[in-house]
Amino acid sequence: MSDPIAERWRAVRAERRAALIAFFTAGYPTPAGFLEAVRRAAAAGADVIEIGVPFSDPLADGPTIQRSTQAALEQGITPARVLALVREAALPVPVVLMTYLNPVLAYHGGAARFGADAAAAGAAGILLTDAPAGADPGVEAAIATSPLTLIRLVAPTTSDVRLADAVRGAGGFIYLISRLGVTGVRADAPPDLETQVRRVRAVTLLPIAVGFGIGTPEQARAAARCADGVVVGSALVDTLGTGGPAAVEALVRELAGAVRAGGRVA
């Protein structure tokens, strides 16, 4: 069976550029608005669409994603409805779900069933914000036996010992949290990004995507110089809230241009 994430990355690498991973909160601002936004984002050059499955207590997220999550929940967005939206979106690029563990555990049939249903709906991977490597071998095994790829997050504070554990059993790509803190747009560039990327690259052959605080084309271009992929979340969610899907499309186009101009030679 082919892995759509790996396949996408092969294509990106062949173009000697970094990938753009665009994050949206499922069902925000409305289910219809969300569907239009992700379709336009995929058409405008996003290589992977990351979809946030709303959780009531998103403790790794800043104000933008907290608000979008709240708005989605108020419209009755459940994990099952997220999967229905993924199916309806039928995106031409790989979809990675990002969520917290509890909605996955609470899914009827648990994590294994969620993995199977998500894959059937068209998702390729999953990121679990509050289930770091080794925290729950049962959940990791359930995801591993499902068709979903388990994407691992690593942070600037991740020790070398943990880093080795985190990349073992990881698939798709490594999500490198570029700075301490929660999600959200920042004015400054992540400190020591090159060093961070180099440290992860030393222990894995998987592509490395960086996220947290990257929102502008300039920041994306800078990150694309050393990383294999750039994740943009809060900036897109903000743009969707204020300017709608057309504004999202315009920003994605700029960001896609930026990761191509990053000039990284793979």
Partner: protein
């Protein structure tokens, strides 16, 4: 000697049976490993406990007394002797300082000079602000806007001691959201900051280290019982929000098979109304704030808002060791309503001249509701976890009195 006895705890690898664990963003994992390492070393270091005990004695005022109630006992009837463990007489007015003192000593060992905390009723915030003032550390306390309104006095107390109180306007604006915000701060400032979690909740090692620091309550009470009565209590009762005062008094009695342990949750407006905070009575296991435990959640795994008249119990989760003790049937978990707690608040005030915290009033209310459960001469030990001064304005407001 107040060191926790090694080998008596059910936890292995940070779990109590299936409960507990470390469900946090990767960014925090190294800090939790460091905290575990530093705590495990401190636990075996007699100098750590010598300093902890000296502070408990000279700064907090421990040991706290046992008070046998005459009139409250008579109100319960049947010849039962209701005895209070007076954690309300600690410096700052609650058991919370047992934990904050222990954790501030750990922060010092980790060279972390910035302290953050979450608070519901404000008692943990006050206890944190207190030890930070005492040790000259920067202190930031996150508190829900709704709780700041309910507990204005405690907000000002924290500020007087130099802490910055940050209002939290997200979600239900109570303890749950204050904890989210404290965790967000910690993710951002983890290299310089220690997060003093206020209860036996959160990711490992917090539930066990908070329990260990609080377990002085039960060790003292057990010794005091044997000295004064020559026997153990028939029943030990404590309120349970996150559950730190309950673990504090239960732990020393867990091995005493003849001692009944009762944890009292907040039934709010009634369990049947859905407006309550009874995670153990009505929730089901899930992952929240770093650990796997009983949780008030909907069918889709979204955390449901809790409700209690007492801000300190107004929390949809509960410590993982309580979840384990519930499944083991070692502790009986029950719930009493806001109304019962307010009546108990009034009863203890009038009958004994002791204003209990609304949290602790839940434990008193459960005893008042269970007259007839005991034989004449039985001792029922209630952990009076805090004093009620902070609740006076709230109680006045609810009863329509003008202050």
């Amino acid at each position: 000697m107040t060191e926790p006895v090694a080998g008596t705890s059910p936890e292995t690898r940070g779990r109590f049976g299936p409960y507990g664990g470390r469900y946090v963003p990767e960014t925090l994992m190294t800090a939790l490993e460091e905290l575990e390492r530093v705590y495990d070393a401190a636990k075996l270091d007699p100098a750590f406990w010598t300093e902890f005990e000296a502070l408990q004695r000279d700064y907090v005022g421990r040991p706290t007394p046992l008070t046998e109630t005459a009139r409250l006992s008579a109100a319960v009837g049947g010849g039962v002797r209701v005895v209070l463990k007076r954690e309300d007489l600690n410096h700052t007015g609650a058991h919370k300082i047992n934990n904050t003192l222990g954790q501030v000593l750990l922060a010092r060992r980790m060279n972390k000079r910035r302290i953050i905390a979450e608070t519901g009723a404000g008692q943990h915030g006050v206890a944190t602000a207190t030890v930070c003032a005492c040790f000259g550390l920067e202190c930031v306390v996150y508190m829900g806007e709704e709780d700041m309104r309910r507990q204005r006095l405690n907000v000002y107390r924290m500020e007087l001691m130099g802490a910055r109180v940050v209002p939290v306007a997200s979600g239900t604006r109570t303890l749950k959201d204050a904890t989210n915000e404290a965790l967000r701060d910690w993710v951002t400032n983890v290299t310089t900051t220690h997060y003093i979690i206020g209860s036996v909740v959160g990711p490992d090692p917090f539930p066990r280290l908070v329990r260990d620091f609080q377990s002085v309550i039960g060790r003292e009470a057990r010794t005091q019982m044997l000295e004064r009565y020559g026997r153990l209590p028939r029943t030990v009762v404590a309120c349970v929000g996150g559950g730190s005062n309950a673990m504090g008094i239960f732990t020393a009695f867990l091995g005493d098979a003849g001692v009944e342990l009762v944890g009292v949750e907040a039934a709010g407006e009634g369990l049947e109304t859905g407006r309550h905070a009874a995670s153990l009575s009505c929730g089901r296991p899930g992952v929240f704030h770093g650990s796997y435990s009983y949780l008030l959640q909907d069918a889709g795994g979204q955390v449901q808002p809790a409700h209690s008249v007492s801000a300190g119990l107004d929390y949809p989760g509960v410590g993982p060791e309580h979840a384990y003790l519930k499944d083991q049937n070692r502790v009986l978990y029950e719930a009493v309503t806001d109304r019962q707690a307010l009546d108990a608040f009034a009863a203890l005030s009038r009958l004994e001249g002791i204003l209990p915290a609304l949290e602790s009033a839940h434990a008193v209310a459960w005893v008042l509701a269970h007259a007839g459960r005991w034989d004449a001469g039985d001792v029922v030990l209630i952990n009076l976890s805090g004093r009620g001064d902070k609740d006076v304005a709230m109680v006045a407001e609810l009863s329509g009195a003008e202050l």
